[in-house]
Every structure is written in structure tokens, then in C-alpha cells.
């Protein structure tokens, strides 16, 4: 692909970088404990946790780096970090 003049780019290309591959641990969300407070969505440094149709939350595992902030901060202790099988 031809270079952009002046080393510029339009939005969107960062999504080519699938940071989910960085993970060692994976956050697993427990719907039973979820109070839909949305704190995990706010605190994720990737911004990859989104609301499902039922207003529960789900991370986009393509990008989730497994940092564990969501699990640490969830007030209902509804997120557990599990070692991923690769």
C-alpha cells in the first residue's frame, strides 16, 4: 500500500493490531454476580469491554490484554482471571 504523505493515517488501522494475543490470563465474566454498574467498561485501558444486548458486559477478546484491572476493581467480584490455554 502506498505511503501516506507526511506519515499520516486515517482512524481505524490500530485495530489491525490484535492485542488479544498478548494475554496470559483471561478475564471471565460471571453474569450472576454482575450488577451492570459499568465500572469495568470505564476502567479498561483498552476500552474493549462493551455492553451486550442484555446490558451485561463482555470484553472483546481480540483486544483484551488480560491486565486484570476489571477483575481487581469489580465491586461484586464478578470477574475472575483465568490462565488461558493456548
Amino acid at each position: 500500500m502506498a505511503l501516506a504523505i507526511g506519515c499520516r493515517a486515517k482512524p481505524g488501522k490500530s485495530r489491525d493490531n490484535k492485542t488479544g494475543s498478548w494475554r496470559v490470563f483471561k478475564p471471565v465474566f460471571d453474569k450472576e454476580k454482575c450488577t451492570k454498574c459499568g465500572l469495568c467498561m470505564t476502567l479498561c485501558p483498552e476500552g474493549c469491554i462493551h455492553q451486550t444486548d442484555e446490558e451485561f458486559v463482555e470484553p472483546d477478546y481480540t483486544f483484551c490484554k488480560g491486565c486484570g484491572i476489571c477483575a481487581e476493581e469489580c465491586p461484586g467480584e464478578g470477574i475472575a482471571m483465568q490462565q488461558e490455554e493456548k
Partner: protein
Amino acid sequence: MLEITEGSHAVAEAVRLCRPQVVSAYPITPQTHIVEALADMVANCQLDADYITVENELSALSACVGASAAGSRVYSATTSQGLALMFEVCFNAAGMRLPIVMTIANRALGAPLSIWNDQQDSISLRDSGWLQFYAEDNQEATDLHFIAYKVCEDHSVLLPAMVCFDGFILSHVYEPVDMLSQEDVDRYLPPFTPYQRLDAADPISFGMYATPDYYHEFRYEIDNAAKRAKEAIKKAGKEFNTLFGRDYSAMVEGYRLEDAETAIVAMGSICGTIKDSIDEMRAEGKKVGLLKIRVFRPFPSEEIAQALSKVKRVAVLDKDISLGAKGAVAIEVRDALYGSATPVKGYVLGLGGRDVRKKDIKEIVSLVEKGVGDQFFGLRRELL
């Protein structure tokens, strides 16, 4: 309209006519009269620009980077220490492909501190990617600003440009200048149409970083753009000639060169002195000519080789010195003539405002006839 005007004021007027939206410059001798004149114009509603009184030159050019990226035609001016202070911004602006025009009122670089003229400052930035124009007199200094904006805003170029004119020698001297009218300039230079700009309606990231996988090609592209400027200069110069009767389409200009045996190569105001000296030498029967370099970047290699193809010897004058090597212009001219047997000698002179007189030129011609050169000319031996 023909006016007797100070060089700085002529430049300021030319800039005013180009309708920059943002002016951002830091005062430094001998450019001060330009920025003062522009401030005066803004204060009297003659120039509708945002005039940013920045706190240093690095900020001056940085503000131009921002304003240009946001979609405005911008202007700055500096010299010597100020240009050196904005060294990294110069490389940055060229790499970001922003069409900024900046006047350089050429002045020597310290240490030792000097406020007087030589061309070390702009020549030292020849690697930066900026186009570089050198004015022989205040008419050229004025006109080259119109040319510079036209060329650098061309979407096939998109590089910043320096218009260089010798500090004090031109900037503070009154000469007759035929100044274009606002109508003239509006006809020649349309409003700035950025190739891209910072715009929430169409977001773009400017100035990303390039890994080794990409950097090499980005630099190649900038080099290509600088080379494409040759065509853009030709086009812009031709159009200027058609409209206004002054031809800037050539990057080099010969004076009495056609049948010359000795050619002197030089840039800037020194060319005026050289022309007068040549007239006197010609009257005495010496076949001397001048090749004036008006555009130093992109470097007119082929044009120089072509123009000097028939002379017997070449004397290149440098108002600069690449310390530890030679005068920068001489090195590049010699490179342009590589493969030809024509001897090329370089002379470093006029540093820090040391006056160059007609008899100095004659002496240099004698030296090059004897094959003596590649030296500092005119040293005060009693000091050494």
C-alpha cells in the same frame, strides 16, 4: 508600482499581499524590521492575520506547523541563531510536508557572535528538506515570496520554503522595487488549499512515527518531492513572467556567461558586486561570466553542469564554510561537474559581514587563472 523601499519593508509588503492567516515569528537582528512592519500592518488592519508573539524561534516555527496543519497559510522569518534554535522544527516541518514560507535574513552563526551577513545559517540547513531561494537584490527578495508560496503549496511539492536575502546588505538597504498590487497577487496566488488538514469532520493523525520498515521510503518520498519542485518552480516562474514580465523559471541565471572562459558561481547579493566587476573586467578584455544560483534546494545539478559546460575554469564563492572541509556551495558545484575536466576552485569570503569589493572579485579571477584556490580569501594576515 515602483517604490524606493527598505528591503525588509518590501518583504513585509510582499508577505502581506500573500494574505497569510497566521504570522508567528520571533524578532532577531537583522530580520526585526520585517516582523515589526507586519505587526504594524496588523495593528492598522492592513493585514488580517493572527500575529502570535511567541517566546522563542522554536515556538515560532512550531506555531506555523500547527497553523499550517490546521489549514492556514502561514509565515515566519528568522536568521542565524534563531534558525539554529529551530533546527529540529525545520526537519519536522519538511517531514510533515507542510508548505510554510519563512524569510531568512542571512546572518553569520556564532560563536563568535556576529550580527552581520553571511550565508552559513540557511546553508547549514540544506539537508532539512526545505526549498531554498537566494535573492540577488530586493526585487528578487520580494518576488521570490510569491513564487515560494505558489511552489510550496503545489500538491506535487508540499514542502516548506526559505527565501534567503542577505542581512543588512539587502534587508536594511533602500532599493527600487516594483511591488505588485493586491489584485495582481490574488490573480497569481489563489487562497491556500491544503492537501489535508486537521479537521473533526475528517479526522487524520499527523506526524505518526515510522519504524525501520517505513522510514526509508518516507525519506525517499520527501526527496522526490524536493526534486519535483524543479518543475513546479519552472511552472510558477513562467506564469509569473507571463503576468508580470519577470522570469523566475530558471533555477540558475547566467550573466555574460555565453562566451566566458572563467565562470564565477555565487548566490545572493554578492552577485550584484560580481556583475559590476565582470563589466569592468570585460572592458579590459577578460572573458569572465557569472552563474548565479537562485535556487539552492533542490540543487540544480544538471543546470549548473550545462551552464558551465564550455568554460575553462570555475571559481565558486562561498559565504559559508563547512568547517573542517570546504565551502558548501563549492563542494556541490564540483559534484555537479564531476566527470568534466574543468578545474573548480572554491573561495570562502565575506564571512561575518566582511565586505566584498569589486577588486576582490578581480583578485579571485586572477587566482583561479593561476589554479590557486580552495582557501579562505581575504584573510587579515596581521591578525594571524
